[in-house]
Amino acid sequence: MKQKKIDKTPARLDFTQSVTGLILAIFISAHILFESSILISNEAMYKVTIMFEGYYFFGETYPGIITFFAAAISVIFVVHAAIAVRKFPNNYKQHKVMREHVLRMKHEDTSLWIIQITTGFIMFFIGSVHLYIMMAEPSNIGPFASSFRVVHEHMGPLYFLLLLSVVSHAFIGLYRLAMKWGFMEGKNTKVSRARFKFLMKTMIVIYIIVGSLSLAQYTYIGLTHDFSEVKKYKSKIIDLRAH
């Protein structure tokens, strides 16, 4: 049979949206966990930071690695957003129809999508700001530097909002990915779906609690630490010169 040329773009877009979403979700769940090392101790958080700056590989720290990371994530973030935005209601009529539909149906998964749309929209702005700062000031990460940013550069409220958005967006997204691709689908798909949904909700709750506690800890440090004396955390064990 003669093979007609098929248009692969829709497939590629769809696949890319899922893959970038997956990467971002994995990234963010690791990110928040690393961030929460502050709950263990300042030292632990410091170690995590310098790990990402390459200390354990090179013996010294390169904040440029963070810049690189942040840039990479930014690219994925932008790609994801650019592709996903085609699913947004793109005019008032669509917006209105969808709103009516959601209110009428009172259907959980449809409402969850509204959360994703909203949080996605929020992240356009806060996420971009956050990523930009990380690229611009990669060395200003650490128990004290981060706390300073949270309290004295007034990033706290923004981070909290970002936390709520990113966590719900990511886990709802992961749940939807599993549904979308039939990931680990059981014989009874209703049962496997219910399990995924439960997992999603649990993870959202856990991450918001852990993230909020970390943020509280940074805020506490930010409020109690005397930044006029020590701006940057100094490890008592590891001694290094920053580049």
């Binding site: 829709p10 497939a11 669509q94 969808m98 539909h101 149906m105 999508w113 691709w181």
Partner: protein, 248 residues
């Protein structure tokens, strides 16, 4: 069963509109009906028509949950009215026609036309140019499990509930919806249909097809026949991605 309880008085709010009446505008009208044992919305609506307002338009055919004619929004959710027992609902019940379909009047909608267009568009029939039908010969064999699997998807009654329950299609009416995708899954499964994956891709490999689906799963949750729509759409998505990667 409990003894001689006073029956409830149901308040049935119906979204009414006669597009053939130039004076008419969509409006809610409420009827009060005394509930009886085992009452379904089929009984309720016929009672309204027979005793309250004989101009009320609605569609029932089999009244047994088999034919898919009587889909409507019951308290905002699409479902088959004939098999909805009033005892499972609150006494205030609102009924409205399914959105998206052409309105004939009141609760009566023209699903037939929509579904026919869909079927014609997706060519939902067996495509087989190789095998000539020979009615005297033994039928082609088929694995029993496969026949069961095909029947599972063939159970769709084209009621339109999945369409009304789908957020995507509300915004983008060109989307084929779960009903269309399920049909493609059904024919793809069927070895008698000789269409290639690339040909299926031509039909559903775009934003109006499987890639338009945003996995809101309204379809799965309102399907009166409990079809495995989520799972089959996922399957089609995997298959279409594979096809796009293989095909050069």
């Amino acid at each position: 069963m409990s003894k001689e309880k006073t029956p409830r008085i149901l308040k049935i709010g119906i979204l009414r509109f006669d597009p053939h009446d130039p004076e008419d505008v969509p409006h809610m009208e409420t009827f009060e009906i005394e509930e009886s044992d085992g009452m379904t919305l089929y009984i309720v609506l016929n009672e309204i028509r027979e005793h309250h307002d004989n101009s009320l338009k609605f569609d029932f055919v089999c009244r047994a949950g088999i034919c898919g004619s009587c889909s409507m929004l019951v308290n905002g959710r699409p479902t088959l009215a004939c098999r909805t027992l009033t005892s499972k609902l609150d006494e205030n019940i609102t009924l409205a026609p399914l959105p998206l379909f052409e309105l004939i009047g009141d609760l009566s909608i023209y699903t037939g036309k929509w579904m026919r267009n869909l079927n014609e568009h997706l060519e939902t029939w067996i495509h087989d140019k190789e095998n000539e039908l020979e009615v005297d010969k033994l039928e082609e064999k088929m694995e029993p499990e496969l026949a069961d699997e095909i029947y599972e998807l063939d159970r769709c009654v084209e009621c339109g509930c999945c369409v009304a329950g789908c957020g995507t299609i509300q915004m983008r009416p060109e989307f084929v919806g779960a009903v269309g995708l399920n049909k493609i899954a059904r024919y793809h499964l069927d070895p008698r249909d000789k269409r290639t994956n690339a040909e299926y891709y031509e039909l559903i490999g775009d934003e109006d097809g499987v890639f338009g689906c945003m996995t809101l799963l309204g379809c799965e949750d309102v399907c009166p026949k409990d079809l495995p729509l989520q799972s089959k759409i996922a399957y089609l998505r995997r298959m279409m991605i594979k096809t796009s990667m293989k095909n050069n």
